[in-house]
Every structure is written in structure tokens, then in C-alpha cells.
Amino acid sequence: MNVSYIGRTLQPAAGFKQPLVLTIGQDIKGFVLRHLGRLALFILTCTSVLAVFLIFLFVILEALPFLGKFSIVEFLTSTAWYPQAHDRPEFGALTLVVGSVYVTTAALVFSVPIGVLAAVFLSEIVPFRIRDIVKPVVEILAAIPSVAYGFFAVLVLAPWLQEHLDFATGTNAINASLLLSIMALPTIISVAEDSISATGRELREASYALGATRIETMFKVVIPAAHSGIIAAIVLGMMRAIGETMVVWMASGNASRIPRPWWDLSQSVRTMTATIAGDMGETEQGSDHYRALFAIGLLLLVMTLLLNLVSEYFLTRAKKSLGKS
């Protein structure tokens, strides 16, 4: 029985290349290709997830021998960071963690008010045409390489701070914080502005209908409605600041101590990221110093992961609340 005439006698409808009844070969080929395609895309997606997972695994494996050999309590609470001392190397990471916290917090103090207010300005007050120009320009700030910021910090900002504000040293916590705030600004402005623009017109119209003025609507209706997105923006800015390496390596002075008195930001501090970047090149693989650096890296990864989870939580809450309204 000749099966192929089945495809020939039934005329295909206009626009269809395949006949309406497939041969067995074409049927099997279609089935296999469809599932192969799905498998290929699945593998590509898995690769990115696998990459994150493998990074974590690698860092944990390299850091575990150190955590087994030295006490974790001493690692987290001692302020003595002398990994290369000949007689008794000390690995106390408290100064590094405190340095990172100082620099990130001060950067947020500078960048959050400016960033959120700029986002409000861009989304509420300024006409669309200007917003379409200003937003890309702000995003260019995010594209400047961090080494360029570092050069600016050491060669321009540090002498300026020494001369005009009479600091003993210009490479200190304030220097690093100022630069980190400039680097975190584009992130905060972009995400906050997106979330404020995404609040529906109904909210604003209802508020105006009830007799609120423009500024009352802005600060009492729209911003509280978008508060989840704004918090997500702040957390993303915090992640950018805490993970920045080159700028703090050049601008913060790298003195491993906690500023005394605690509010004196004009003293040098040392961050976790700068320690890893500065020391990693020279340490022999497998030595205690090498593993201590991985332990610091693990600490940093855990902190950024927690911040990421927090920002994810707030972002989903933002989407849900906007979806409802």
C-alpha cells in the first residue's frame, strides 16, 4: 500500500507548508526536534543556575579547612589582621567587616536621600521628554569603570580633602563612601523611578479627587504605595556598595583598624573586598592566608546573599501590591 499518496491528494490549506497528514518519518522527526530544542534551552538555563551554585561550593570548600583549623569566634571577633607575620599569624576579620559596614552605611546615607528624591523628581515632576534624556545619562554613571573612580579618589579627592577639610589623610572612610555613593546612585535612581512610575493612575486620581495637593499626593500616597520598590532599590544600591573592590582598595587607605572614636570617618578603614583583592595575588595556594581570604569571601557571599533575598522579598511584594491595585 503506497502511503505517500495520502499527502498528495489532500490539498494543503493556504499558507501551510506541511501537508495536513504527516508521514511517519516527519512525525517522529518533529517530535524528536521539539524535545531536543526544549532540552537545549533547559541546559542553557541550568548553566547559569549551576554557575552560581558552583561558585558557592568552591568558596565553601576552600574556606572549610581554615574554619576547621582556626576558631570561628576568633575570626569574627578579633581585630588583629596579620596574616603574614612570621611567628604567629593572626586572622581577625572584625576590622574588615566593620570597615565594610562603615563604608557601605556612609555611602547609603549620602546616596539614599539624593537617589530617592531624584527618582521622585524624575517620575513625578519633570516632563516626559526631559526624563527620557536624563535617565540614560544617569545610567551612564553606572557604566564608568571603577578603576577610573579609584584614580579620581586618590589623585583628586584625597588631596582636596587634605587641603580644604584639614584631614590628616585623604584616603579614608569618607573618601571611599563618597565615591561608593556616586556608584550606587544610578542603581537606586533607576529602580526607584521604575517602581514609582509603575503606581497606577487611579491612586493619584483618587487622591486628587479627595482634595489633596500635589505634594501631599506625592509624599503621602504615591511614595508609600511604591515603598516596596524603593526599599528594593536601596538594597540593590547597598549590594553594589558592599561588593565594590577597586575603589575602596585605592580610596580607603586600607588601615586595618576600627576608627576611634567610632564616628570619626576621616580615619582610614579596610574593607573585606579590598583585603581579598590586595592579598590574593601573592599568597601560595593552600596556605592558611589563602584559606583565610576564602573565609572572608564566604562571609561576603553570605552577606550579599542575605541582602539579595531581602531585596527579592520586597520586589515580589511590590509586584503583588501593584498587581492588586
Binding site: 581585630t79 588583629a80 596579620y82 596574616p83 603574614q84 607575620a85 612570621h86 611567628d87 576590622t95 586618590v154 589623585l155 584625597a158 588631596p159 587634605q162 590628616a168 589623610t169 585623604g170 584616603t171 582598595w249 585605592m250 587607605g253 586600607n254 588601615a255 586595618s256 583598624r257 580615619q267 582610614s268 579596610r270 590586595g278 592579598d279 595575588g281 601573592e282 599568597t283 601560595e284 595556594q285 596556605s287
Partner: protein, 274 residues
Amino acid sequence: MRTVIVCALSVMVLLVSNSAVSAEKLHIEGSTTVGPIADGFTEVFKDMYPDVTITVNKSGSGTGAAALMDGRCDIATMSRFMKEQEFKNAIAKNVFPVAHAVAMDGVCIVVHPSNPINALSSEQVRDIYLGKMINWKQLGGPDIPIVVISRDTSSGTYETFESFIMKGQKMAPSVEYVSTNPQAFARVEKTRGAISYVGYGFIQTGVKALTLDGVEPSRQTILNGKYPASRPLFMFTNGYPVLGSMTYKFVTFHLTEKGQEVIENKGFVALTDY
């Protein structure tokens, strides 16, 4: 779609053929102090041997030693001798480091030009870096807090300073760290109360070099060992290089007249007279 594939394939063929044409490569990694010497040699070699590609990386003596052990470079420039642990690691990886001393360098203490102090003793410098002296007026200078700057622990300059001046004691926590000689120079140039140490070759107008233990850093005192913190600069190879190979020519270039000129131009002290 077909044009895209054809273009991609032709680009790949071009890249592969390009790398096959350039005959010989020499990769040098290591100290930021010896780096300028390697750069100077490379420039001369570009004229003498035009089809050899020489790349010089400056990331610290320790990094250079690690690269030589892993086989990632042909020559490791180091401003200090290899440590015992580095030798052991190298032997374990079947790498036999051979040292070639190419020049002499002095680790010089520098301060801002406006600082009236001209001379310090090793003990005074050690006290400054230990945090016992915190104001210049304690040393007879103006009432300015001392800003102590050091090189980070991956540099050979730091190792030399630590062994000659610190004598193994740990620096104070308030000491700032910078990553390269030029960065230390830039910090001292701009900060009135700063003190730091740089290699002799990096001293220019802009900072003031101090007399250490009564000996002024100069070519003669560094070469005959009178200056307390003078040290030889090394290039390490894996085994003695094959006579006549590019590596051999590079590490023995300091014995030629042209090589000595390069070394003197960079501000170091050549080991032999021509």
C-alpha cells in the same frame, strides 16, 4: 544565516593563523620595582629582535614567584630572594628556580618636601611604623600627625623594609597600605604629614628622601652596602636558561653595556662598571 557562519569561520581562521605566525613569546611577571627594568629591556629587544613578543606584568614579587611555579611565565622578576616555602613549592612542582641578580636597589624613606626633618635612624622609623610616634613634633618637626603609609604585603619592597627596619615586628593597625610604588609616591607627594618607603629608582622631585642612620641613599652607598636598606633585584628562571635562547639573552642583558645604561636610566644601580 549562511553569511554569518562564513564570516565567523573566516575570522577564526585569521585569528589562528595570526598566532601561528609570531614566532617567539616571552612572558615576564613579578615585581613592580623590577618591572621598569624589564620594560626597558623589552624596548631595546623590540629593536634588536623584532619578531619576538615580550609581555611584562607587574603585580608583585610574590605573584611572580607563584607564576613561575605554575609555569605561567618564563621569567619571574622579584625584588627579594625567594622564600624557603616558595623554593619548596617550586621543587614540588618540578620547577628549579635559578636567581640572576640584575641590579641593586635601595629602599628609601620619603617624606613630604615641606617636612623639615632630614635624617632618621632605623629605630625612629621602626617606632613610627609601630605606632609609638604619632606626631612629627615628637621627632623635632612641626605639630602634624604622622600619616604612615606602607606597601601591601605582596610586594618585595615591603619584605625588604620589614626585614631591615621592622625586624619582624608587626606594624601598627593605623598604618595605611597602598599597592604600588607610584601610588606610595603620589600619596606622599600630596600629604603633608606622610612618611613612606619607595625603591631608589622611584625618587623624583616631589618628595624628599631621608638619610637613614647617617647614610644618604646614593649610587655608591647602595652598591657597596653602606646604606642599611639596600638589596639586589633578581630575575628567576626555571633552571639555567638554554644558552642563546631569548630567555638567556634577557637575563644576561644586564651584563652588556646597553643593559647597564637601561638600569642606570631607570634610577637603579648597575652591578658592574663598564
